[in-house]
Symmetry: C2
Subunit: 395 residues, 2 copies
C-alpha cells in the first residue's frame, strides 16, 4: 500500500492511526502541529491527539524509538514492537522529538515531554558513538552482537540530523509565552529568554540526567511577574522544591509545577527529583516484552551488554531493589552512571548435549551490570538486551 506508506491514503484530518514511513510521518505531524499553532483550528488538534495516542500508547518503544519495521522503514501494527529486528531509525526518534516539542508549545502537558525526553536520551542519542565518530541508522532493543555503528555516511539522514538536533538542543528545553515560561527538560546550561517584555537569564546547575538535583537561577533585568511551569517527570515518585531556601509545595498541572509570582534578579530554585532505579513493564499486548522487565533510572533506559554480563541472553531480573547507581571512574565509560545489582542467570550445567529438554534451566544468582541504552556498542561486540525475562515462578 504505497499511499499508506506516504500517509497519503486518506486526507490527513481523517487519519487516526500512525502508519507508513515513520520519519516521514512525524515530520508530517510536526507540520500539522505548526499549522495548528498558526491557525488555531481545533480539527488539527484533534487529529494530532489521535495520532499522538496511536504512537505513544501503541507504537512506541521504551527507548523513544518508533517505526518497528525495516521493510519500508515504517510503523507496524498496534503493540507490535519486536526487539532484535526493531528498525527504530535514529531520524524517527529525532522527528518524534520535533513533533513532541511542537505539541508542548500548543499544550504544556507532560505526556509530550516524557516522550521527547525518552527519545532524546535513549533512541536518538544511541545514534552516535561516545567518540562522536560512528552512527546508528537502526536502533534495536536487542542484539546478538552483529549490529554496529558505522562511520559518517553520505545519506543526508541520521548523522547530520543528529548533529543538528544536538547543536540546537537548547530549543527543546523551554517554551516561553507572553507571561509564562515552561521548563520541559533539565540539564546544565544558561538560556536567555524574554517574558512579558523583560529579558531574563535562566541558569540550570545540575548533573542531570545522572542526578536529580537541579539548581535554577532566574535573573530578569527587573522584577517581573510570570507563571513558571517546572516539569516533574512521570518517572519521579518523590520531589521537593525550594525558592531562595524556603521549601514549598506546589500543585501539579498536567505534570508541571505551577509557580505564579513576581520573579526578582537572583531568585534561586532548588528542585530535587528522586531518581531511583526501577523496573518497567510493557502493556500486556506487547508480546515481545511479555514476562519481561527493563531497567530505568530517571530518563535513561538501561540495557545489559555481554561484555559486562557473562551468560547474556540468559539473565533474568526480578527487582530493581538491589540496584545502585555507580559512577564510572575511568575507562571508555568514564563519568557515566551504571546500575549494579543482582539478578539471575540460567545455568548451562546439564545442557551440553541437548538443545531442548522437558526440564527448565535452573536459575542461579548473578551480578548484573547495566549501562545506559545509548552507550551500548561502544566496547566489545556481544549480545545486548533491554527487556530481560523475569524469573519464572518455581525456577
Amino acid at each position: 500500500m504505497p499511499y499508506e506508506r506516504l500517509q497519503a491514503h486518506r486526507p490527513l484530518l481523517e487519519q487516526t492511526e500512525a502508519v507508513g514511513h515513520a520519519v516521514r510521518a512525524v515530520y508530517l505531524y510536526s507540520g500539522l502541529a505548526d499549522l495548528a499553532a498558526e491557525t488555531g483550528d481545533r480539527r488539527y488538534r484533534r487529529t494530532l491527539d489521535r495520532l499522538w495516542e496511536s504512537v505513544a500508547l501503541r507504537k512506541l518503544y521504551l527507548t523513544g524509538g518508533i517505526g518497528a519495521l525495516a521493510v519500508g522503514e515504517q510503523f507496524s501494527g498496534d503493540y507490535h514492537l519486536p526487539n532484535e529486528t526493531a528498525y527504530a531509525e535514529t531520524c524517527a526518534s529525532i522527528g518524534l522529538i520535533f513533533w513532541a516539542r511542537r505539541l508542548l508549545d500548543l499544550d504544556c502537558d507532560r505526556r509530550y515531554a516524557e516522550v521527547m525526553e525518552a527519545a532524546l536520551y535513549n533512541g536518538a542519542l544511541s545514534g552516535v558513538s561516545l567518540d562522536g565518530r560512528r552512527f546508528f541508522y537502526v536502533n534495536p532493543l536487542a542484539s546478538e552482537g552483529r549490529h554496529h555503528r558505522q562511520e559518517f555516511f553520505g545519506c543526508a539522514c541520521c548523522p547530520p540530523n543528529l548533529l543538528r538536533l544536538l547543536a540546537s538542543l537548547g530549543r527543546y528545553f523551554y517554551s516561553a509565552a507572553e507571561d509564562e515560561l515552561c521548563v520541559h527538560l533539565y540539564g546544565a546550561g544558561a538560556a536567555r529568554l524574554e517574558i512579558s517584555g523583560v529579558r531574563l537569564r535562566f541558569v540550570q546547575e545540575t548533573d542531570y540526567p545522572w542526578e536529580g538535583r537541579v539548581g535554577l537561577e532566574i535573573s530578569p533585568e527587573r522584577p517581573v511577574r510570570f507563571r513558571l511551569r517546572l516539569r516533574v517527570p512521570e518517572w519521579c515518585r518523590n520531589w521537593s522544591l525550594s525558592i531562595n531556601g524556603t521549601s514549598l509545595s506546589g500543585r501539579l498541572s498536567r505534570g508541571y509545577l505551577l509557580l505564579d509570582r513576581t520573579w526578582r534578579p537572583g531568585d534561586r530554585l532548588a528542585l530535587d527529583l528522586e531518581m531511583k532505579p526501577e523496573l518497567v513493564h510493557a502493556h500486556p499486548a506487547v508480546g515481545t516484552a511479555a514476562g519481561c522487565a527493563a531497567l530505568r533510572r530517571g530518563p535513561l533506559v538501561y540495557c545489559l551488554e555481554g561484555v559486562d554480563n557473562p551468560g547474556l541472553p540468559s539473565i533474568f531480573i526480578d527487582s530493581a531493589r538491589s540496584f545502585r547507581p555507580v559512577r564510572v571512574e575511568s575507562g571508555p565509560l568514564k563519568g557515566l552512571v551504571l546500575l549494579k545489582g543482582r539478578g539471575w542467570r540460567a545455568s548451562r550445567a546439564g545442557w551440553e548435549k541437548r538443545l531442548y529438554s522437558d526440564r527448565a534451566p535452573k536459575l542461579e544468582p548473578a551480578p548484573v551490570i547495566a549501562v545506559p541504552y545509548f552507550v551500548w556498542d561502544n566496547r566489545a561486540a556481544g549480545p545486548m538486551r533491554v527487556w530481560l525475562p523475569r524469573p519464572p515462578a518455581g525456577s
Copy 2:
C-alpha cells in the same frame, strides 16, 4: 561472505559449523552421508558428526526448522533462533529429513530419528495447508497474523519438494540391512521388505501420531532370524511391548529396542508409547525462548492461535498437567487432536492510558487451547505463538 553461503569457504572435511544457505547445506551433507556409506571413509563420518552437532545442538528450531535468517536463507550463529523472523524454510526441514534419513542408514541412533520426526510432523508438514492447496515457504514460530500460505507457485522449491516427500514417505520409516530391520517411524501402513533373503510384509496398525499405541504384524514368507530395532522416541517416558500377547522388557540400544529372534508369519507386536502433553524448554543460550516453554505431545509441537485464545500474545503457561488431548469432532480441524488446559492471561485492566508502567501486568487464569504447529494459519488470521512465557514469580 559468499563462499561461506555456498559452504565453499573451506574443504568440506574441515568444516565444523553449519553455515550458509540452509537448504544447500543439508543437501550437501546428505551427499556427504551417501559418500560415507559408499566409501566407509571415517573422515566423512567425523565431519558428518561435527556438522550434525552444529545443527542439532545449536541451530535447530523445536519444530525441526533450520536456517534462522531470511537474508541469504541461511543459518545464523549458535543458539540464535528468532521466532517471528525465523526463516525455517520448508525445504530446509525437508533437506534435514533427507540428511537424517541417510545418517540413520549409517548408524541406527535415535538422535537422528528424533530430528527427522520433529521436522516431518512440524516444520515440514506446516508447509502445506490442510486442504493441500496453499504453501508456506517460511515457517516462523511466532506471528502477528500477517504471514499466510500462498497458492502453488512456480519456484521449483517448497511445494513440489513437499509433494515429493509425502509421496515417498514410506522410505523414511525403515532401514533394512542384511540381518536387521530398524523401525524409525510409526504410522498406519504396510511395507514389503526383504531381510536375509526372505521377503516379508510389515504392517503397522496405529493412530500415531495422535495415539501412542502401535500394533505391528510381521509376516515373513518363512521363519527368519533377524534383529528388529524399534525406536522408542526420546519424548516417551514410559512404554511397554508385547509379542504375541506376552509382555517383555527389552533393552534400549541408542534409543532402539533390540529384539533378536526368529520371526514367524503372523508374529504380532504391541508397542505402547506413553504420549503425555509436556512442557519443553530451550537451552539457556537461546535468548528468544528465555523464560518460556512450549507445549508438545508425542512428536507434535503445539502452538496457540489467536482464534482459540483471546489475549494472545499475553498468554502464560506454567505446567502441562492440566492439558488433555481432545479429538476434534467437526469443522476444519476434524479428526485432529488439540490440547486443552489452563494457563494465565495478562489482564489489560488499568493499561488503557499507558504503554509502559512500573507495575507489572496482573495475571488471571485463562483456558488455553493449543493446536498442532503444522495446523496453524488454516482458520482465521491472528497471532500465533509456539514459545509461551512462563508466569513470573510473584505475578
